[in-house]
């Protein structure tokens, strides 16, 4: 065992695990960050996509030794401002064993979303939601790289992320909205 240090969603973290342990397991099991999902474990579905420095990678195929000294962004760090104390924690989700009926799905949860997340919400780009964290990270990497509201380019950018619910139509729409909104913002 040896310690690996990296920047996770803005925070320095350190884990003492075998170097070949999958980044996905480090995130989900060692650090309790379950926002990143596993769909196939062999790099085919993209559900576990995170951003390593500026590249989208599938965290099921990245050993933790490769992120030592690097930065990792996950869905949990997407929220605007990305102050770990503030936003995501406000989203109310039922503790699984809570019997209280009030703990179901609250009608209005106070939550702040990034422009990309907001676009996904408004266009209906998330259905079952299991591909969504990875899809968002692939899309964020595309936007960070200066990607615009171009359908062909967007489809290419998310080609490694499988979605079985949406037919991709609304996901492409959402990313295009976010890209267009940013272009307008940049111009003004």
């Amino acid at each position: 065992m040896s310690a690996f240090r990296f920047l996770l969603d803005g925070d320095p973290v350190e884990v003492d695990v075998p170097g070949m342990r999958r980044l996905l397991d480090v995130l989900r099991e060692d650090l309790g960050r379950t926002g990143t999902k596993e769909g196939c474990g062999e790099g085919e579905c993209g559900a576990c996509t995170v951003i390593l420095d500026s590249q989208p990678v599938v965290s099921c195929l990245v050993p933790v030794c490769q992120v030592d000294g690097h930065t990792v962004r996950t869905v949990e760090g997407l929220v605007a401002g990305s102050d770990p104390a503030a936003p995501g924690a406000e989203v109310g989700v039922a503790p699984p064993t809570d019997l209280d009926t009030s703990a179901g799905t609250p009608a209005s949860a106070p939550v702040s979303l990034s422009p990309l997340q907001q676009a996904f919400l408004e266009t209906g780009a998330a259905q079952c939601g299991i591909c969504t964290p990875g899809m968002l990270m692939a899309a964020q990497a595309y936007l960070d790289d200066g990607g615009g509201p171009d359908e062909t380019a967007i489809r290419a950018a998310i080609a490694g992320n499988l979605c079985r619910c949406t037919g991709y139509t609304k996901i492409v729409d959402a990313i295009a909205y976010a890209a267009a909104a940013r272009q307008i913002e940049d111009r003004s």
């Binding site: 379950t34 990143t36 929220v79 989700v93 179901g104 997340q117 079952c128 499988l162 139509t169 609304k170």
Partner: protein, 791 residues
């Protein structure tokens, strides 16, 4: 129909208005003169409709799926499976090189209750008992639990079932064990055929299709004091799991509790199999006396869980020269796999839909499902109807070609109208939109104009194979483009007397604290239950959407609203909630003369305490089905769908690119346009995958491509642009007019794509998927027969 001018003001043409406006995704293909008017609800933001209720949690990673749940002291469980398709299970050898005291092993002998996965028939064991017969590859034989995954993996390696091979039955056409059988007769087919100018026969085949929800099966069982059990899992039907657990664990139902975790897609795949997984986890949890997590990896999920039934459908159809269908003789054969699971109901739906949405006086439909030594097939979006539609729609398109009538026109002449009678004797009294969806699809795509264009292009390529080394190319063009159409119907809700027998309950409670809570067992798996239910209730009560909460789907809290299947959630359970809301409003308003619910419900709750309405399903008026004679109203209403697909076929490789699909669906009443479009788009892409790339190869009863690297589904690049057009022809029996939606688009996509391929290259592919190999084989056969004719 309107005669929309070719290449209208919008210029060359694409279907729909993609987000990246102005981009064309297939620059190599010749532009087609097409325009499509936007659908009724414009795509984009959910203006005026609530946003997805659990959307923020899903978008921030806070939503908790089964594998995200943490239970202290939990061990992981795994399954020892058969490596044979048919065998006697002689022994489980535990290699003494492994220290078995570190783990817990369970066999059939450890099952406290009946060794049965309770569903329709009692033929499927939870675990094959020693000396029992293994019926399929990957069948569960034993279970192991371990404190950590490496120990579990090591234990699995050292557990070796001893299996004595038996001869497997793999071919459904020679299989003799019948799982279900139906026969539908209307009129007299001999009379019908005597009226025919032309009789056409065809055989159509489809293979397995994997649901491929992106979240694999996952379940955690937590033993409770006194022999009870609570399970948390990814599932569609909490009360199916509940019933199966009570029986398998041999405990009263009140000692079993099923809680749905956030569920990452189902599509039917999580209808029945979660019962098996919950039983496995519970048996281990009981023996190990601690929580057990069982989460399949993708390989195990594909290898072991249910698929869409393979089918062989034979049509013999009599038509008149002017294109009237006068006789239909249809045989439907489904491969059920090793156990019956839901096969009898899947076959029933396949049989009832086999004739297509067409009026015909003389019909005989025989349906039969047989058992083979392959993993059991089960529910998948469409539930038998997609197989039936691929056959009838492809057959009808070939009839149109033989008669020299446009495929749209042939359908127009035969499609159901109000007053027509189905093969079960059901008179279609209302909500029949077959003609409407057909006309919409034809008009919006300028279908006939494009077909004429494609026909000219095709004839220009006459003498295919003229270019050496290329089967299709004759000149510089590398692609051929074609357009295809299909029409379909889908019975909304449960088949036959299903809803009546189920007698679902959904409840609404105004709590003493003034909160309005929906209580139902209908699950959210991405389709929008959690958004639609509060929306329907809020509209009825005249309160804002966010004034209505949802109880968690937990059998300790919610009534049995039936399974979340059969496109019944918005229509049937949503309908119950609308009625419950009406009763709640009346009860509260009755106590405060003249004031509206919205004005008084909070003070009413404070003064009078909680008011709860339990709404039980009552049969739709005038709707009755006779199970014994298999006649009557097979469904309370039908949804109607048409799809038009445009494909490019590579003239060197015969690879198919589905460029555009226009999907027109009648759902009775659109409750939420964005969610409804999401259903159509997703269902359409699953149909496109079914048509083109999704295929399971078997060897000796084992799935060969049982990984995501080898079982392919469409990516964003493979996906066509999908334009959704929603049509509303309400059903008077449901209080909000809504009919089912989820499965409709799955029925018509594949035959539309196959018809488009035929339009492009002149070959009918009669077996799904339409792979390049099958298209090339079809061309070779056609060219050989041309040569024979010429010679």
């Amino acid at each position: 129909m309107s005669s929309e001018p070719a290449g209208g003001a919008e210029g060359p043409a694409t279907f729909g208005s993609g987000a990246g406006a102005g981009t064309t995704r297939t620059p190599t293909a010749a532009p087609i003169p097409l325009t499509v008017r936007p659908g009724i609800p414009t795509r984009g933001r959910a203006t005026g409709h609530p946003l997805r209720r659990e959307g923020p949690a899903k978008l921030t990673g806070e939503a908790l799926y089964a594998d995200d749940l943490v239970f202290e002291g939990a061990w992981s469980g795994a399954t020892v499976r058969s490596t044979e398709a048919h065998a006697r299970f002689e022994a489980l050898d535990l290699d003494q090189a492994f220290d078995w005291s570190r783990v817990v092993v369970a066999t059939a002998a450890d099952i406290p209750g009946d060794n049965i996965v309770s569903l329709i028939h009692d033929d499927q064991p939870i675990l094959v008992p020693l000396d029992g017969e293994v019926q399929h590859h990957a069948e569960p034989l034993a279970l192991i639990a371990a404190p950590d995954k490496p120990t579990l993996a090591a234990a699995l390696e050292h557990a070796r079932p001893r299996l004595a091979q038996l001869a497997p039955v793999l071919d459904p056409e020679v299989a003799t064990r019948t799982l279900a059988e139906y026969e539908l007769v209307k009129g007299d087919i001999a009379t019908g055929f005597s009226m025919a100018d032309l009789v056409l026969e065809g055989t159509y085949r489809t293979g397995h299709q994997e649901q491929l929800y992106i979240e694999p099966m996952a379940m955690i069982a937590v033993p409770e004091a006194g022999g009870g059990m609570t399970v948390h899992g990814s599932l569609q039907c909490p009360y199916y799991v509940h019933d199966a657990l009570a029986r398998g664990l041999g405990v009263p139902k009140h000692q079993v509790r099923v809680v749905q975790a956030e569920t990452g897609g189902g599509f039917g795949g999580k209808e029945e199999y979660p019962s098996m997984l919950a039983l496995h986890a519970s048996i281990l949890a009981r023996k190990a006396a601690r929580p057990i997590r069982m989460v399949y990896d993708r390989h195990e999920d594909i290898a072991a869980t249910t698929k869409r039934h393979p089918s062989i459908v034979r049509h013999r159809t009599g038509v008149t020269r002017d294109g009237r269908i006068v006789a239909q003789d249809i045989d439907v054969l489904l491969d059920g796999g090793a156990y019956s699971t839901l096969t009898p109901v899947v076959l029933s739906r396949a049989t009832l839909h086999a004739g297509g949405p067409y009026a015909c006086d003389h019909v005989r439909i025989r349906g039969r499902a047989v058992a083979t030594n392959t993993p059991p097939n089960g529910a998948f979006r469409g539930f038998g109807a997609p197989q039936a539609h691929f056959a009838i729609e492809t057959h009808l398109s070939r009839i149109a070609e033989a008669l020299g009538i446009s495929p749209a026109e042939l359908r127009r002449r035969n499609a159901y109208r109000i007053g027509d009678t189905t093969p079960t004797g059901q008179v279609l009294r209302e909500s029949v939109a077959a003609q409407a969806v057909l006309d919409e699809a034809v008009e919006r795509t300028s279908f006939d104009t494009v077909r004429e264009w494609a026909a000219r292009e095709r004839s220009g390529r006459a003498g295919s194979g003229a270019l050496p080394g290329s089967p299709l190319r004759t000149g510089a063009a590398r692609h051929a483009t074609g357009i295809g159409l299909a029409l379909g119907w889908h019975g909304a809700g449960f088949t036959g007397s299903g809803e009546e027998r189920l007698a679902s309950v959904a409840s609404l409670e105004l709590g003493a604290d003034g909160r309005i809570v929906v209580l139902s067992a209908s699950t959210e798996m991405g389709q929008g239950t959690k958004t639609i239910f509060p929306q329907l209730v809020a509209a009825e009560l005249g309160v804002p959407d966010d004034a209505v909460d949802l109880a968690p789907v937990d059998t300790a809290l919610v009534p049995d609203s039936g399974p979340t299947v059969a496109s019944r959630t918005t229509m049937v359970v949503g309908g119950l909630l609308v009625l419950a809301a009406r009763r709640l409003r009346e009860a509260v308003e009755g106590r405060h003369g003249g004031l509206s619910f919205a004005e008084v419900y909070r003070e009413d709750a404070a003064a009078n305490g909680a008011t709860r309405i339990d709404q039980r399903f009552e049969p739709y008026p005038g709707i009755h089905f006779d199970d014994a004679t298999y006649t009557g109203d097979a469904y309370p209403a039908y949804g109607w769908a048409s799809a038009v697909a445009v494909v490019d076929v590579d003239l060197d490789t015969a690879e198919v690119t589905v460029r555009d699909v226009v999907a027109v669906d009648d759902v009775g009443k659109v409750v939420h346009p964005v969610l409804a479009e999401g259903q159509v788009e997703g269902g359409t892409l699953q149909a496109v995958g079914y048509a083109t790339i999704e295929e399971i190869k078997l060897d000796g009863g084992r799935y060969l491509n049982d990984r995501l690297a080898t079982y392919l589904i469409p990516t964003a690049i493979d996906a066509p642009r999908i334009t959704t057009v929603l049509v509303e022809d309400p059903f008077s029996g449901s209080p909000h007019g809504a009919k089912g939606l989820g499965e409709l688009p799955m029925d018509v996509g594949a035959p539309a794509v196959v018809a488009a391929i035929a339009d492009a290259v002149g070959v009918w592919v009669t077996e799904l998927p339409a792979t390049p190999e099958r298209i090339l084989a079809g061309l070779a056969a056609r060219d050989a027969s041309d040569e024979r004719t010429a010679g």
